[in-house]
Amino acid sequence: MKHIVLSLFALCCLLNFGGCYNSGMKTLVAPPVARTLASNDGQYTFYWVPRPDPIPLNRFFAIDVQVMDIAGNLITPEQAKLTVDAGMPQHGHGMNHVPRVKTSKDGWTAEGLLMHMPGDWQIYFDLEIDGVSYRGQTPMNID
């Protein structure tokens, strides 16, 4: 029963994001299911998967990221630079560890992220293309 529920959940998630996926997106961080967020100006979409998932409290984790532009073209590390960061706006501080971002052919992996206290965090993805940096951000509650 548990397997059936999980499968249905995964299917629902895939259908939910189905509009964004096409055959050229097999290399994206899905499967199982990437989370998505649009850049704050709507020009880019970030697909990201935390490892482990859910993000643990006070333990290092990583995030795999791939990016597409508004036309559905994959943005590669050859074309852009990605920075991943996180902070707690209500406390006015960020992480107490500086993450590293590694590149692969089609995407990025940010390692060494650490959310050292429970509460409301924001994860920031900053994509730099041709000297302009575009931000995407998502809230993340850690408990």
Binding site: D41, Y124, S133, Y134, R135, P139
Partner: protein, 608 residues
């Protein structure tokens, strides 16, 4: 055992006293008041203090009996002088920042030499903020070119920091040079100290942004005396003392609790000077229009001053202010964040604060100005420390249901500041969007205005000193820092008219300018603490404020704006608050991050 213990305690106490400022001039001695933005500080060979007064465009000598004399240097030579130094025979060197020159005067005050940097170092100085002279040569903090240049005694070029690998200065504002040729730099934008040896090799660097002793927040002045390095730590309101290895020895200064508080309290120090014998220090505080001297001894806790600002209104606003259709944004340099208010209510409500200090995407360095684009409602921040132009979207809550939201502002895009004709980065000091969505920016190092259209910089080719700008409907007003006039231009930069200055304004230092919706114009003056209102045809209508800390009085006003209710909002920087005025009425509002006050409530509060 007890004897040994007592001996250890006694020795510890002695060491503690030695490091506890007994040997350093840290105990408050006296205050030299009635100065106008004293910036640079030095001692003459005979022990008299000498200071530059930026708003008076002059140099002042303080005699032993505290009389201030300005007996020399012809008026009109200097413009916004900053750093100053004197050698052992009394030759005085001044960083003439506003003219982008270095001037040499003999002990009689006669101008003997002027240097623009080009012939000697291949590049003209840009807003040089400090100079230092010794028997080993001359050092110039060429702030706008992000370098320090060193010359031999005979004036020949020796080296420049931009030739040193792995050393990138960011707006250095303080410099000193010792008898051996070692150069000490307050690397202001990098919040650190740099020591370079006589051959132009980096010996040591230390410091970073922060509050703790040993860290800095915009160090602006530096002095080396007898193996000790003194640093004016501007945004930490203190002077820190190090040995030449960067080990912290001590610090002094206590942040003023309320504006005007002195007697050992230090508020935004600009420079520090130590006399030849090392037993007297001079700290300049342009924000308080004073300098203080200190003598050896333990810094005592200064008494509270009788001069107090209204309770609950203190925040550390910078001089930047921007108003949109409903919102108002300012900036707090000490925490590198931007508070947002909604103004379509009687009392403006603080609804958001955004910004995190540091370098990198979305981080805030030093905000030069803020402007709201009326076309797409995007807020643009110009950052001269990180050299970025950032676009933010701010979601304001409805007026009828205001709430505080830390996530109200999100960064859309960030990019490097564009480069001007000679390849250097644009250095904005003020900017505003016109009603067509074109951003017009004043470059403080080139005294030029640029319009940014489709990513291209278009210079206006002006021949005055622009210091403040506001774009109204099809008219752009620019304040002239030398004459105090407002020049009115079309959106394309064609001059339409010039108005002002106010008839009784003797030494103009415009801080902000705004075109009101009825076409009239208001200019704030940072030097004389006044708001002058002009009709559209140029007639001077009224002066709306006076100098001081009460409601309706202002101290070093910065930018001004018209809010959603048609009030003239002025950033009353010297009183750490904002105030609202209305034509023909005067003061109508005081507010900040804490309490607010209106004339009605003030009247009620004064009733028995």
């Amino acid at each position: 055992m007890i004897i040994i213990h007592c001996l250890i305690l006694s020795l510890t106490a002695q060491v503690g006293n030695a490091q506890g400022n007994q040997t350093h001039p840290a105990a408050w001695d006296k205050t030299i008041a009635q100065l106008e933005a004293p910036s640079g500080a030095a001692f003459l060979p005979d022990g008299r203090a000498i200071l530059t007064e930026r708003h008076r465009h002059a140099v002042s000598i303080v005699n032993a009996n505290d009389n201030i004399s300005r007996p020399w240097i012809e008026p009109g030579i200097l413009h916004q002088p900053h750093g100053i130094d004197a050698n052992e025979v009394g030759v005085i060197v001044v960083a003439d920042s506003g003219n982008h020159l270095v001037r040499f005067f003999n002990p009689k005050g006669e101008l003997v030499h002027t240097v623009d940097g080009h012939e000697l170092s291949g590049r003209r100085f840009r807003t040089p903020m400090d100079v230092a002279i010794s028997n080993s040569g001359l050092a110039v903090a060429d702030t706008g070119n992000n370098r320090v240049v060193v010359f031999n005694r005979n004036g020949t070029f020796r080296w420049s920091t931009d030739e040193i690998a792995d050393l990138e200065l960011n707006s250095p504002e303080g410099v000193d040079i010792d008898e051996s040729g070692n150069v000490f730099i307050a690397d202001t934008g990098n919040h650190r100290v740099v020591i370079i040896d006589e051959n132009g090799k980096t010996k040591r660097t230390w410091g970073d942004w922060g509050r703790f002793p040993g860290l800095f927040a915009e160090p602006s002045g530096i002095e080396h005396r007898q193996g000790v390095v003194y640093v004016a730590d501007r945004l930490n309101h203190r002077v820190q003392i190090f040995d030449t290895d960067g080990e912290l020895i001590s610090w002094w200064g206590m942040h003023a609790v309320v504006p005007r508080q002195g007697e050992g309290h230090i508020h935004y120090p600009s420079d520090v000077a130590i006399n030849a014998s090392g037993d007297r220090s001079l700290v300049s505080e342009p924000f308080e229009r004073r300098a203080q001297t200190f003598q050896p001894g333990t810094p005592s806790r200064p008494p509270r001053s009788n001069t107090r600002a209204p309770r609950g209104l203190q925040s550390h606003f910078g001089s930047q202010l921007e108003s949109g259709p409903r919102g108002l944004v300012t900036w707090e340099p000490e925490v590198r964040s931007l508070p947002v208010f909604i103004t379509d209510r009687e009392i403006p409500i603080h609804v958001a604060t955004f910004g995190t200090p540091g370098a990198g995407p979305g981080r805030i360095g030093k905000v030069a100005d803020i402007s709201w684009n009326p076309v797409d409602d995007v807020l643009t921040i110009l950052d001269t420390q990180n050299h970025t132009i950032q676009n933010w979207k701010v979601a304001l809550p409805p007026s009828e249901k205001p709430s505080f939201n830390l996530d109200a502002a999100v960064l859309l895009r960030s990019s490097s500041l564009p480069r001007i004709e000679d390849g250097s980065l644009l250095h904005p000091i003020a900017a505003d969007y016109d009603d067509e969505g074109t951003l017009h920016v004043i470059d403080g190092h080139c005294d030029e205005i640029y319009s940014i259209r489709n990513g291209e910089l278009i210079p206006w080719n002006i021949d005055f000193d622009p210091v403040a700008i506001d774009a109204g409907k099809a008219t752009i007003a620019v304040a002239d820092g030398r004459t105090g006039q407002a020049h009115l231009f079309t959106n394309q930069g064609q001059l339409k008219a010039s108005i002002g200055p106010a008839p009784d304004l003797s030494s103009p230092n415009p801080g902000g300018i705004v075109i009101l919706r009825d076409g009239s114009l208001v200019i704030s003056d940072s030097g004389s603490d006044r708001l002058d209102h002009f009709a559209e045809d140029g007639r001077h209508l009224e002066t709306m404020s006076s100098s001081g800390g009460d409601h309706g009085q202002i101290w070093i006003p910065g930018e001004i704006a018209e809010d959603a209710n048609g009030r003239i909002i002025v950033l009353d920087q010297g009183n750490h608050r904002m105030q609202g005025f209305e034509p023909n009425t005067g003061w109508v509002l005081t507010f900040g991050l804490g309490r607010s006050m209106t004339p009605d409530r003030l009247k009620r509060s004064q009733q028995p």
